[in-house]
């Protein structure tokens, strides 16, 4: 394993220390591993917090700022944060209008946020709403399963909820629009290589040079199946087809198309993939009205990419377009 780290045991805190140095406009609580906007709590504004295991950077701390998150809780690598961190963040951002928890659908994340919400209710009485994202079509969705993993759509939900809160909307409305965004999104990912968890020191799974994993999540979990290495065009089909099969994305309001890198894949390949995805969407009669290409929700140094489509409507589009000023997403300000 070769990584720019000091010690696997201190990766998360060391990286947060760097984030704090690089972004003096943020407040970073190294003790609790919580990253806050500089101006929390904002009286009367719904607080938006998220969090999860580390290793997905810029998610979540890179999305803390104006128009997006008020705080992000960083767990250990691929391990959800603990209730204390989430409780601390909840209290820290509470401006009296309640707090929205945006949680990716993983057993650990859901349980830790749930425990934190129980503690917060008992402790402070702050009103909490929770939106759980689950957009990964690689995962079977039925009554007998734990539901889909939350992946790419989480970035979009954080942006949209953040914009709604920034507008001064009430908690129920913010949660409502976040939930709609979450339900309108679908994702599919592919890995060319496995990532390496620092504490483990070798790749999570072995992938021969002529094989790729289709249907991977963002924790280095093996995917649904292994197929021969293919061209970008064919890989784009492996992503686009199951996403379009799962939800009807045609319609005049168009979609937001998001091609995301897994951490080890350079931008030249992501743009190339976007070109292939755009061509397939056009062929399928899906009109794209917003686009984003980059590594926004990653899986350590895994090479690969994911596609997320979000079905837009006027409100979602307007909230997406609203100003945002965070380390990783910035426009309009």
């Amino acid at each position: 394993m070769k990584k720019l780290i000091n010690d696997p045991a201190t990766v998360v805190v060391d990286a947060l220390r760097g984030l704090a140095a690089a972004h003096p406009e943020l407040q970073v609580d190294l003790q609790n591993k919580v990253v806050y906007r500089g101006d929390v709590p904002r009286p009367g504004k719904v607080g938006i917090i998220s969090g999860g295991g580390s290793g997905h950077e810029p998610l979540h701390a890179g999305f803390v700022g104006i128009g997006m998150l008020d705080a992000a809780c960083a767990g250990e690598v691929f391990t959800s944060p603990v209730p204390d961190q989430i409780l601390e963040a909840t209290k820290g951002v509470d401006g009296g209008a309640g707090v929205l928890h945006i949680v990716k659908n993983y057993t650990g994340d859901v349980m830790n946020f749930q425990m934190a919400a129980e503690l917060a209710a008992a402790d402070t009485g702050v009103e909490i709403a929770t939106v759980v994202t689950g957009d990964d079509v690689a995962v079977e969705d039925s009554l007998h399963t734990v539901g889909r993993r939350g992946v790419g759509v989480t970035v979009l939900v954080e942006k949209i909820a953040g914009a709604a809160a920034e507008e001064g909307r009430r908690l129920a409305e913010v949660a409502g629009v976040a939930r709609r965004a979450s339900q309108n999104g679908r994702s599919m990912g592919v890995a060319l290589t496995s990532g390496t968890v620092p504490a483990v020191g070798h790749p999570t799974f072995d992938l021969p040079d002529d094989r790729i994993e289709v249907g991977i999540g963002i924790h280095g979990e093996p995917g649904r199946r292994r197929v021969p290495m293919a061209s970008a065009r064919e890989i784009a089909e492996l992503l686009v087809t199951p996403v379009l099969d799962d939800l009807d994305f045609t319609g005049d309001d168009g979609v937001l198309a998001f091609v995301n890198g897994m951490g080890g894949t350079p931008l030249i390949e992501l743009y190339l993939m976007y070109g292939e995805v755009a061509a397939l969407l056009e062929k399928a009669g899906v009109s794209v009205s917003r686009r984003i290409v980059g590594s926004y929700i990653t899986s350590l140094d895994m090479a690969g990419c994911s596609l997320t489509l979000l079905k837009l409507d006027d409100e979602l589009r307007q909230l997406w377009d609203a100003p945002v000023m965070t380390p990783a997403l910035q426009w309009g300000i």
Binding site: S80, T107, M111, F205
Partner: protein, 220 residues
């Protein structure tokens, strides 16, 4: 021949021994647990449990007011330091045991301890909604709780009850291998989860083995 009352009781020292033994086993199996999790999860279960049990061991140096308070502190420490799925689940296990033991006694009879184990298991099930057969830690914990009750019911002592529990937990752990996961991260793999032993069931079996070897030792 030892006095029955002593052979049948679990005291604070015994619980401390249990936690230390579990921490040792987790440290010894850290890489194995993580490797199992790498196959069907996210390669952190050994790291998570080891971090948590190190924190638990560190907390054992503090004064220990009684059995229930000790287990409560263990549960809170795990909730505070482990994260992921296993943090809340193991944490809940010990918190519910503590609640079940109720008002603090220095030591508790085996039957009371058995009831607490059952309560811990029920806490895990309440939190995680997993049933036996879902390929989770419940597959090791549930047969263990059953075995303790059965063995005590037919007059066995704590040592033999926990020995039976350890055998049952090991068997439950082994039984997870052919299962298709229905809960936790492994469930995302669908059919591909078949053929792999569940990491959480593996650490849970270590917990019961630790109980079997550490709990009775000093009380006999």
């Amino acid at each position: 021949m030892p006095e029955p009352s002593s052979a049948w009781e679990v005291d604070v020292d015994a619980l401390v021994r249990w936690m230390r033994r579990f921490a040792e086993l987790v440290a010894d199996h850290r890489e194995d647990l993580t490797a199992l999790d790498a196959a069907i999860g996210d390669a952190d279960h050994g790291t998570n449990m080891d971090r948590g049990m190190n924190a638990v061991v560190a907390s054992l140096d503090q004064a220990t007011p009684g059995a229930s308070a000790l287990l409560k502190r263990v549960g809170m420490t795990l909730v505070r330091t482990v994260g992921g799925a296993s943090g809340p689940l193991y944490g809940t296990f010990f918190l519910r045991m503590a609640t079940s033991l109720g008002d603090d006694a220095d030591s508790v009879p085996a039957a009371v301890f058995a009831k607490a184990l059952r309560a811990g298991l029920e806490g895990v099930v309440a939190r995680g909604k997993a049933e036996v057969g879902d390929k989770t830690m419940v597959d090791a914990l549930a047969p263990a709780a059953d075995a303790v009750e059965t063995e005590l019911g037919r007059g066995g002592d704590l040592a033999s009850a926990l020995a039976a529990a350890a055998r049952a937990a090991d068997a439950g752990r082994d039984a997870t291998t052919p299962m298709r996961a229905r809960k936790g991260r492994a469930s995302y793999l669908g059919e591909r989860s078949v053929g792999h032993q569940d990491p959480g069931a593996t650490s849970a079996a270590l917990l019961i083995v630790a109980a079997a070897t550490a709990l009775p030792a000093g009380s006999l």
